[in-house]
Amino acid sequence: MGPLLEVKNLKKHFSVNKGSIFNKNVGTLKAVDDVSFEVYKGETLGLVGESGCGKSTAGRCILRLIEPTEGEISFEGRDLRALNAKDIRRARKDLQMVFQDPYASLNPRMKVRDIISEPILLHGITRGREVQNRVAKLLDVVGLAPYHADRYAHEFSGGQRQRIGIARALAVEPKLVVCDEPVSALDVSIQAQVINLMEDLQREFDLTFIFIAHDLSVVHHISDRVAVMYLGRVVEIAGYSELYKNSQHPYTKALLSAIPVANPKLKKERIVLKGDVMSPIDLPPGCNFHNRCPHAAAVCKETAPVLKDIGNGHKVACHMI
């Protein structure tokens, strides 16, 4: 069986302009630069990386909430980039999104009932009385009570709001849900509740997730496969235990070793990277990681490495491997 979603050579470039009158183009910011991956039905693909690595932009490009510059996005064999505005809106019945900030992604003037029923009505899932039954059922599924339907978003805590955001995404029975940092704004005890909920829902509704996060331990917990991004490119992609046990890319290694572990006896050999991420505007040729990489050689400054399959579905983009 082919993948549910296939992303090929996805690029999103923003031009950087200066000046208010002539708007001179002074550079290009390659937020997503030649990213390819597949997502199979029923799995969770984790997309992990630090701020500015392009993980959210990649996620939004898939739903065409941001228009990609180049590349192919095929969902169930259909090229999403070829669809017109009306058809892409229809296609989003199958592709939904859960956002990071549960405070900003719910309309403060709408009741929870209206927030959840809006997509149901828009996509014509049901109508009339059935709609309210469906809202009640969705609230129950995400662990809220029916009486919550008549409240406004501000009356809820962060964790509860994220549950509403999940209910809204599930309202149209999507096949793929792109979750953009769904738990980063939550406290740990609440974060665990929401992660458990998402795992239960995935099983119950046969969902496929793209889980975008900067927290490698959360991504590792929830994902079947993990793609690590750095400055717009995927540097490594592998199954979750393969990635943890047998990471190959120096950036993945550093990222793994930088996670603070809640065990004071475990004093790890930590790789502390020197310096900062390069400016993403007008990147020099070569590997984007070469300025911080402990193993960088001359070739790394000249040509960008491509993703190589090293077996077991494990791909790495590094000249040294």
Binding site: E50, S51, S157, G159, Q160, D187, V188, S189, I190, Q191, A192, Q193, I195, N196, E199, H214, L216, S217, V218, H220, H221, I222, S241, Y244, A254, L255, L256, S257, A258, I259, P260, V261, A262, N263, P264, K265, R270, V272, L273, D276, V277
Partner: protein, 321 residues
């Protein structure tokens, strides 16, 4: 045993709001020895930042008020000092770094101006000597080309460099105590690793004690000697870092540790989430604040507030069991 540098006894900080009295900090006691790093852990709203701000008396008043308790620093009760005396202590003996380095630095002054201001004010050095000292501090926190960088504005720095600059300002007068309020929360993990390493190095160099406020138990495990866990404005457990992680006694501490996704463990078992949400600080339950979420709660927990008591040498817990 080293003597106490800071001892907080039964601190109460209340906020008088139109909808009731918010007991943000309600009976906090702990102490910090010379040269140690104390971690203060808790979720949003547990009162950890308010405790820190109470020490420096930065609580906006009204509506806030320190309603009781003692804060003994170096043998003196800070709450009995005049505004003038407190101002001399702030920045000189006790300094603080904040979570968000962008909003805590002044955007219209250069890094150098902000650094020298502190030095001139507290160390009574003249401008040239202060500038030399400022450059030296920037070098110490690992900012390259320090002299040139003194003329930069905060927006020209990356997040990690801004936090380094904040640390330079905070340590420029060799304070005895550094209060770090979520110093790495806004940073990416690889940058967080750099900053934590820097703080540990400087702590030894300047013989500064650190009070590290964080919600990240991983960070605590890596850098702290002792830990106090807070919940709903009260301390629930205090112990040395190894005891706390290996043999936590309070169900909340236990729950917090269990709810963390652990990357080193194989298999994808469910996270053990703590059910429910923290209480509303305006309507605190009688009895133990954690009782509604506690799996071991008995009748006595709902009726009587547990005492915060010593159960073993150096291990304090507030729980009936």
């Amino acid at each position: 045993m080293a003597e106490n540098l800071l001892a907080i006894e039964d601190l109460k900080t209340y906020f008088y709001t139109p909808s009731g009295v918010v007991k943000a900090v309600d009976g906090v006691s702990f102490s910090l020895k010379k040269g140690e790093t104390l971690g203060v852990v808790g979720e949003s709203g547990s009162g950890k930042s308010i405790t820190a701000m109470s020490i420096l008396q930065l609580i906006p008043s009204p509506p806030g008020k320190i309603a009781g308790g003692r804060i003994v620093f170096n043998g003196d009760n800070l709450l009995e000092k005049s505004e003038e005396e407190i101002r001399r202590i702030r920045g000189n003996d006790i300094s603080m770094i904040f979570q968000d380095p962008m909003t805590s630095l002044n955007p219209v002054l250069t890094i150098g101006e902000q650094l020298t201001e502190v030095i001139v004010l507290h160390q009574k050095l003249d401008k040239t000597a202060a500038a030399a000292r400022a450059a030296e501090m920037l070098r110490l926190v690992g900012i390259p080309e320090a002299e040139k960088r003194l003329k930069s504005y905060p927006h020209e720095f990356s997040g990690g460099m801004r936090q380094r600059a904040m640390i330079a300002i905070a340590l420029s007068c060799h304070p005895k105590l550094l209060i770090a309020d979520e110093p790495t929360t806004a940073l990416d993990v690889t940058i967080q690793a750099q900053i934590l390493e820097l703080m540990n190095d400087l702590k030894d160099k300047f013989e500064t004690s650190i009070m590290l406020i964080t919600h990240d138990l991983g960070v605590v495990a890596e850098v702290c000697d002792h830990v106090v866990v807070m919940y709903a404005g009260r301390p629930v457990e205090y112990a040395d870092v190894e005891t706390l992680f290996e043999a936590p006694l309070h169900p909340y501490t236990w729950g917090l540790l269990a709810s963390l996704p652990k990357i080193e463990e194989r298999g994808k078992q469910r996270l053990e989430a703590i059910e429910g949400t923290p209480p509303d600080l305006r309507h605190m339950p009688t009895g133990c604040a954690f009782a509604p979420r506690c799996s071991k709660a008995q009748t006595v927990c709902r009726e009587k507030q547990p005492l915060y008591r010593q159960v073993r040498e150096g291990h304090y817990v507030a729980c009936h069991y």
